[in-house]
């Protein structure tokens, strides 16, 4: 929408609008392309994609093995690929190992399977504290892990994006793939929560 609202006249809003105006005048970008990009990330790409990957891994041991061996390829099998998802590594939670993902330098995040990161993921507090004191931070976020659980923190980079394969909760043996996917939240795939048997 070329006539997008200008209600928000903060310095950042004006500066962003100025850049877009200048670049459109130069013909290097057009409003329709920008609109299309935004629509994809607001409406189509999101944690639901990752949830489907997780559910498939839970019900299909062969897929799970492929996923852990080559995350990018196994995720692409389900049709999820694209920018910021070119080099995916999937790390598996077990009763004794808990994985959690961060990007300490900026905000690297696997867009094709999780969409865009939540605000707390980009926050300086999360980015520094999850490395220094992961157990305490996870507890503050509502995930109290036993002292015996080994916490592994994965720092995303330009080269690698991580996705946590959470544990399948007990009591879900009767559920189908779609029902399982509905249990899997974004936070469980970043590693700051566990999947619960009922949503």
């Amino acid at each position: 929408m070329a006539d997008h609202a200008h209600d928000d006249d903060t310095p950042e809003a004006l500066r962003t609008e100025a850049l877009e105006t200048l670049l459109r005048e130069k013909g290097v970008v057009d409003a329709a392309t920008i609109d299309a990009v935004i629509r994809v990330y607001e409406e189509d790409v999101g944690p639901l994609n990752g949830a489907k990957v997780v559910a498939r891994a839970w019900i299909d041991p062969a897929y799970r093995a492929r996923l852990l061996a080559d995350g990018t390829r196994a995720i692409a099998e389900l049709g999820f690929a694209g920018p910021q998802g070119e080099h995916m590594v999937v790390v598996e939670n077990t009763p004794t190992v808990h994985n959690v993902v961060v990007c300490t330098l900026c905000s690297c995040y696997p867009w094709p399977v999780l969409g865009l990161p939540p605000s707390w993921y980009k926050d300086p507090a999360y980015r520094s504290r999850v490395v220094r004191a992961p157990r305490a931070l996870l507890a503050e976020m509502g995930l109290a892990l036993d002292e015996t659980v080994d916490i592994r923190v994965w720092d995303s980079s330009a080269e690698v994006r991580y996705l946590v394969l959470p544990e399948r909760p007990t009591g879900t043996e009767h559920l189908g793939e779609g029902e399982l996917a509905a249990l899997v939240t974004r936070d469980t795939m970043i590693g700051v929560a566990k999947v619960k048997a009922s949503s």
């Binding site: 006539d3 809003a13 200048l22 290097v28 920008i34 694209g82």
Partner: protein, 112 residues
């Protein structure tokens, strides 16, 4: 970024997007994000060129703001994109400032 993110328009078995959330806090954030991806897709820069500047902007901001008040991720993103566009010769700082001034001087209700 040769690959377009493939859309997932799954059928009846698709769970609702209950774990989705508001992605952008303000319209300018989404314009900025969309513009950055569109420019990258048009081949005007490599993603790592942008990422390096984003990291530099975030690091500089965190050094300058030890208490981290008024943190805005997309404000850092904006600074990174602007510096990249200037470095690429696509925009000049004075040109951007002039455009901002002109936009700010618009009468109220200009957009409706």
């Amino acid at each position: 970024m040769s690959d377009e993110p493939r859309l997932d328009v799954a059928g009846a078995a698709a769970p609702p997007r209950r774990n989705g959330e508001l992605v952008f806090a303000a319209p300018w954030e989404s314009r900025l994000f969309g513009m950055t991806l569109a420019l990258h897709r048009a081949g005007l820069f490599a993603w790592d060129e942008f990422r390096e500047r984003l990291i530099a902007e975030i690091t500089a901001w965190e050094r300058a703001h030890p208490t981290r008040d008024e943190w805005s991720y997309y404000a850092r993103w904006l600074a990174a994109l602007e510096s990249l566009l200037v470095a690429k010769g696509l925009c000049a700082p004075a040109q951007i400032d002039a455009c901002v001034t002109a936009l700010a001087a618009r009468p109220p209700g200009h957009d409706h």
